[in-house]
C-alpha cells in the first residue's frame, strides 16, 4: 500500500486515538459501559489496522510474537494473582473487600480495576496473536 498516501496518513493519525479510546473504555468500565474485554479488542484493533495498511512485518516489529505471548500469560497472572493476594490477606479467593479491610468498598473498586486490567491485557494480546497467526499463514 505504499502509494495510498491518504490511507497511510489517516491511519497514522487515527491509531493514537484508537489506543487512547481503548484505555478510556478500560478504566471507565467501572462507571459506564466498558471493561477489559471491550478495551482489549479496541486496543488490538489499532494494531490490526496498522497491520492492514503497513504490513504484518511492521506489526511484528512493534509487537514481536514472544512479547505478545508474554502479555497473554501476564494478563491471566494479574487476574489470578489478585485472587491469591486476597487469599493472603485473609479473604476468600477473589474477595476484593479483603484488599482494603478498613474500607471494603474501596477494596472492591481496586480489585475490579486490577482484574479488568488483566482481562484487557490478555484479550488485546490474544487478538493480536490471532491476527498475526492468520495473516502470517503460509509465511514463516
Amino acid at each position: 500500500m505504499t502509494d495510498h498516501t491518504i490511507l497511510r496518513v489517516v491511519t497514522k493519525l487515527l491509531i493514537p486515538f484508537v489506543l487512547l479510546f481503548a484505555l478510556y473504555v478500560q478504566f471507565h468500565g467501572d462507571y459506564g459501559p466498558g471493561g477489559g474485554f471491550q478495551a482489549g479488542v479496541i486496543f488490538a484493533a489499532g494494531f490490526v489496522v496498522y497491520g492492514l495498511i503497513f504490513g504484518l512485518a511492521e506489526v511484528r516489529r512493534v509487537a514481536p510474537a514472544r512479547v505478545v505471548e508474554i502479555f497473554i500469560a501476564a494478563g491471566l497472572l494479574i487476574f489470578a494473582g489478585t485472587g491469591v493476594v486476597t487469599m493472603l490477606k485473609g479473604g476468600n479467593f477473589l474477595e476484593y473487600g479483603a484488599l482494603n479491610p478498613a474500607h471494603p468498598a474501596e477494596g472492591q473498586h481496586l480489585g475490579i480495576l486490577i482484574i479488568e486490567l488483566g482481562v484487557g491485557i490478555t484479550v488485546a494480546a490474544v487478538m493480536i496473536a490471532i491476527y498475526s497467526a492468520f495473516a502470517g499463514r503460509g509465511r514463516a
Binding site: I72, L76, L77, A80, G83, V84, N92, L94, G97, A98
Partner: protein, 492 residues
C-alpha cells in the same frame, strides 16, 4: 490454609499454565509442570481425606454466599473424580517428556505443558463446582484446550480430527448451554443445590423437559455415548500418545460425572427415571454401543484406534450401570469410571512406548514386539486382561457390580449380553497379544529396544493400580458405593 483447599485445587494448575509460557525453557517448564501436577494431586488427596472425615466441603468464591455467588461444593463423588483426574494428570505428564520429544516439535513443548495444565484445570473445575453455569465455563476450558492438544499430533490427520472434535464438541457444549439457559429461566438460579429444591415448584412445565433433553443429549455427545461417538476414534488415534492417554482416561469420565450430577443431583432419580423413563433411552443405546463398538474394535489395524473403539464400548458399560438407577447399578457405573480410567490410561501409555520405538502402532508392525519390549507388552497384556474383566483385575470388579445390578432387577438378557461382550473384548485383546508375543518379529520390531524407564515406570504405576484396585476394593468400590447412595438420596 486448609479452608482454601477447594480453590487451591483449581488455581494451582491454572496459575502454573501461564507461568509455563513465561518460563519457556523446555526442561524448566517440564519440571515445573510436573511438579504443579503432583501438588494438584496432593491437594486432591487432602480434599478427599477432608470429605471422608467431615462430609461435604464448601467454598464461597469471592466471599459471595451460595445461591447468588459461585460455590465450590465437594462431596464424595466430586472428591473421587478430582482424585482420579489429578492422579492421571500427574502420572501421564511424568510419562510425557520422552514421548513428547519424539512426537511434538521441541519448540512447542512449553506451549504443550501450558495447554495441558489448562485442560487439567477445566476437568477439575467441572468436578468441583456447584454452579451449573460454572460447569459450562470449565467444560469449554477443557474442551478448547483438548482441541489444541489433539491438533499437536504429528500426522496431518491430527488437524481434521481435532476440527471434527471441535465441531461435535461445540454442538454438545451449545446443547448443554441451551439446557442451562432454560433451567435458569425456569428456576432463576444457577446453583445446583438450589435448583434441585426450586424445580419442585415448577414441576411438569414443558421448559423443564426441553432443558433436560438438550442437556442430556449435549452431555451424551461429550462423553461419546453411542451413536454420538463419531468424533472419538479419530481424535484418539491421531493425537500425540501422551494426549490420548490423558484424554482417554479423564475427559469422557468427567462427562459421565456431569451426567450423574445433573440427572441425579438436579432433577432427581424420581423425575428422570420413574416419570421420564430415561432407562428406555440409555439402556438400549449403551447395550448397542457395547456390542457395536466392541465388534468394530476387532477389525481395526491401528491399535490406538482399536482402543478408542473399546473406549466407546466402555462408556457403554458406565451408562448401562447408570441406567439401572439402583444403588448397585450406580456403583458399577462409578467404579467402572475409575477402573477404566486406570486401565485405558495404562494401555494408551503402553501404546506410547510402542510408538516411541516402532514409529507405528499398526498391528502388522507390532508382530513379535513382545520379545523386544517385554515390559511394555506385559503391561499391555495386564491392561488388556482388565479390559476383558478377568478376576484379580479392576475390570472384574466393575463387571461384577454390573452383572449383580442386572440380576437384582432380574434383567437376565442384560447380564448375558455383558458377559458375551466380554468375549468380544477377549477377541480384540487376544489378537494383539498373539501378534506381539507369538509371531516372528516384523521389520520394524527387529530393531526395537525396550522403552526407557522414564516411560515404563509411570505405565506400570497405572497398570499396577488397576491390579491393586482389583484386589483392594474398599477404597474404590467402597467410595463409589457411598457416592451412589448419596446420589440416590438426591443430594446434588
Amino acid at each position: 490454609m486448609i479452608e482454601h483447599l477447594p480453590v487451591l485445587q483449581i488455581i494451582v494448575p491454572m496459575i502454573a499454565a501461564p507461568l509455563c509460557v513465561l518460563l519457556r525453557r523446555r526442561l524448566l517448564v517440564l519440571g515445573f509442570a510436573i511438579l504443579a501436577c503432583w501438588i494438584t494431586f496432593g491437594l486432591s488427596v487432602a480434599l478427599l481425606d477432608q470429605v471422608l472425615t467431615n462430609g461435604v466441603v464448601r467454598y464461597e468464591m469471592g466471599g459471595w454466599a451460595a445461591p447468588w455467588g459461585i460455590e465450590y461444593r465437594v462431596d464424595l463423588l466430586s472428591a473421587f473424580v478430582l482424585l482420579l483426574v489429578s492422579g492421571i494428570g500427574a502420572i501421564v505428564l511424568t510419562f510425557a517428556p520422552r514421548s513428547l520429544s519424539d512426537e511434538v516439535p521441541v519448540s512447542r513443548h512449553y506451549l504443550f505443558c501450558s495447554v495441558y495444565l489448562l485442560c487439567l484445570t477445566g476437568l477439575l473445575g467441572i468436578a468441583i463446582t456447584g454452579d451449573l453455569f460454572n460447569v459450562f465455563v470449565f467444560l469449554e476450558i477443557s474442551a478448547l484446550s483438548s482441541y489444541a492438544l489433539i491438533a499437536m499430533g504429528g500426522r496431518r490427520q491430527a488437524l481434521p480430527a481435532a476440527f471434527q472434535y471441535l465441531v461435535m464438541g461445540t454442538i454438545g457444549a451449545t446443547f448443554i448451554l441451551i439446557g442451562i439457559g432454560l433451567m435458569y429461566m425456569m428456576t432463576g438460579t444457577l446453583n445446583m443445590e438450589d435448583m434441585a429444591t426450586r424445580l419442585a415448584a415448577v414441576d411438569g412445565v414443558r421448559t423443564g423437559l426441553v432443558a433436560f433433553g438438550f442437556f442430556t443429549v449435549g452431555v451424551a455427545l461429550k462423553m461419546a455415548l453411542f451413536p454420538l461417538h463419531v468424533w472419538l476414534p479419530n481424535a484418539y488415534t491421531y493425537a500425540p500418545s501422551v494426549v490420548t492417554a490423558f484424554l482417554a482416561a479423564t475427559a469422557t469420565k468427567v462427562s459421565v460425572y456431569i451426567l450423574l450430577r445433573f440427572v441425579f443431583g438436579v432433577f432427581g432419580v424420581e423425575f428422570a427415571f420413574e416419570r421420564l423413563g430415561l432407562t428406555t433411552i440409555l439402556l438400549p443405546l449403551s447395550l448397542a454401543g457395547i456390542v457395536v463398538a466392541s465388534t468394530v474394535a476387532i477389525y481395526q489395524r491401528n491399535i490406538k484406534r482399536m482402543l478408542a473403539y473399546s473406549s466407546v464400548a466402555q462408556i457403554g458399560y458406565m451408562v448401562l450401570g447408570i441406567s439401572f438407577a439402583t444403588a448397585t447399578g450406580l456403583t458399577a457405573g462409578i467404579v467402572h469410571l475409575f477402573n477404566h480410567a486406570l486401565i485405558k490410561g495404562g494401555l494408551f501409555m503402553a501404546m506410547g512406548c510402542v510408538m516411541l520405538r516402532l514409529k507405528s502402532v499398526d498391528i502388522d508392525d507390532m508382530a513379535g514386539i513382545g520379545r523386544k519390549m517385554p515390559f511394555t507388552m506385559a503391561a499391555w497384556a495386564v491392561g488388556g486382561l482388565g479390559l476383558i474383566g478377568v478376576p484379580v483385575t479392576a475390570g472384574f470388579i466393575s463387571k461384577w457390580y454390573l452383572i449383580r445390578g442386572a440380576l437384582e432387577l432380574n434383567w437376565w438378557p442384560v447380564a448375558v449380553l455383558v458377559l458375551l461382550s466380554s468375549l468380544l473384548a477377549l477377541v480384540y485383546v487376544w489378537r494383539v497379544i498373539e501378534t506381539a508375543f507369538f509371531k516372528e518379529p516384523s521389520e520394524r520390531a527387529q530393531t526395537a529396544t525396550e522403552a526407557p524407564l522414564s516411560m515404563l515406570i509411570p505405565t506400570w504405576v497405572l497398570i499396577g493400580a488397576s491390579i491393586f484396585f482389583g484386589l483392594m476394593t474398599s477404597r474404590s468400590a467402597g467410595i463409589a458405593q457411598q457416592a451412589a447412595e448419596a446420589l440416590l438420596r438426591g443430594s446434588p
